[in-house]
Amino acid sequence: MKNIIIGFAIAATTLAACNNSNNDTANAKQTDIKNDTALATQQQVTKDTAGTQSTTATSEATFPVKEIITGYLQLKNALAKDNGQDAASAGNAIVATLAKVDMKGLSDVQMKSYMNIADDLKEHAEHIGANAGKIEHQREHFIMLSKDMADFVKTFGNGGQTLYKDFCPMANDGKGATWISEVKEIKNPYLGSKMPVCGSVKETIK
């Protein structure tokens, strides 16, 4: 009988603990939201002042076209070298860059296009970041990510460097796939060392 009472006591404490922790999370969330808003307002203020002080600030400063492209190229080069680990880091770097993008300087059309692309881009980059040991899986996501990047470059330009749109008919199970490169010579990110030079330049983006 005594045991049963002890048992119930333990259970009751566990239950109570559960409820408490739930409340805590709710509270914590609320504080988080408050902090975020405070931070956002603060950032805005700082940016506004910066804007009035230097008129030379280009949209590049707020919208990281170049940084996103650089992240993509690092990923592409890692895959071309069959390095899933580096590909994962590059994927995570893209996610981090996208997270701090400020869309304030964009026109409505650009913003719509960016949100559409970034939504998908982010998901593929996340998957690539989370699958360091599965390079074939990373490459599957890279097919779709490259398509997003091609559209990104079409809308936002090449960030000041000449880029090449390459196509390999053997990638993607023989259905073919494109990628963007910063060098004219072919370095295939889909087949890597198996067929490093498969593919050709389809377009030069100057």
């Binding site: 045991n3 048992g7 566990t14 239950l15 559409n116 998908d120 074939e136 599957e140 996501h141």
Partner: protein, 154 residues
């Protein structure tokens, strides 16, 4: 001996008590206008496979097995379902952007091709989810075909 008995009894009581802590069930009962079947013309045989092998974790309506009433099974399930729905929710497919829908369709085909989905722990308990080669190619072909037709539209 006396001690072991005490511990066992305490465990039993904890087991009984946790039975009363049931997670909320994933069963909305209604079909949203964003449902996969409403966004696309999905053939019956494709829909049947999706229903049997995917919808338990990737939709708003789970068909719960009997052991879902036993804790801590239901907690594990609730977590799997949340993860599943975060990555892909057939009930809410229409709310994804066009670009993302294409990605998801291709992603489904790839996951099935690579035997990543359905996950093995799920297949262990759901014989229907052990897809045959025919079922796999049915899903892969339809997903890829639909994705490609959407890609050329845009």
């Amino acid at each position: 001996m006396h001690r072991i008995k005490k511990i066992l009894l305490a465990l039993l009581i904890i087991f009984i008590v946790i039975q009363f802590i049931q997670p909320v069930r994933n069963k909305s009962g209604q079909v949203l206008s964003t449902d996969f079947g409403k966004v696309y013309a999905v053939p019956g045989n494709v829909q049947a496979v999706l229903q049997n092998a995917c919808y338990d974790c990737h939709s708003n309506n789970t068909m719960y097995p009997w052991y879902a009433n036993i804790q801590p099974m239901a907690w594990v399930m609730a977590r799997h379902i949340k993860n599943g729905k975060d990555n892909l929710n057939f009930s809410d497919f229409g709310s994804y952007t066009g670009r993302r829908q294409i990605s998801k369709l291709k992603g489904i085909a790839n996951q099935v091709k690579d035997d990543e989905m359905p996950i093995s722990s799920y297949k262990l308990m759901h014989k229907n989810a052990n897809l045959t080669t025919e079922e796999k190619s049915l899903i892969m072909d339809w997903m890829n075909k639909t994705a490609d037709s959407l890609s050329t539209e845009n």
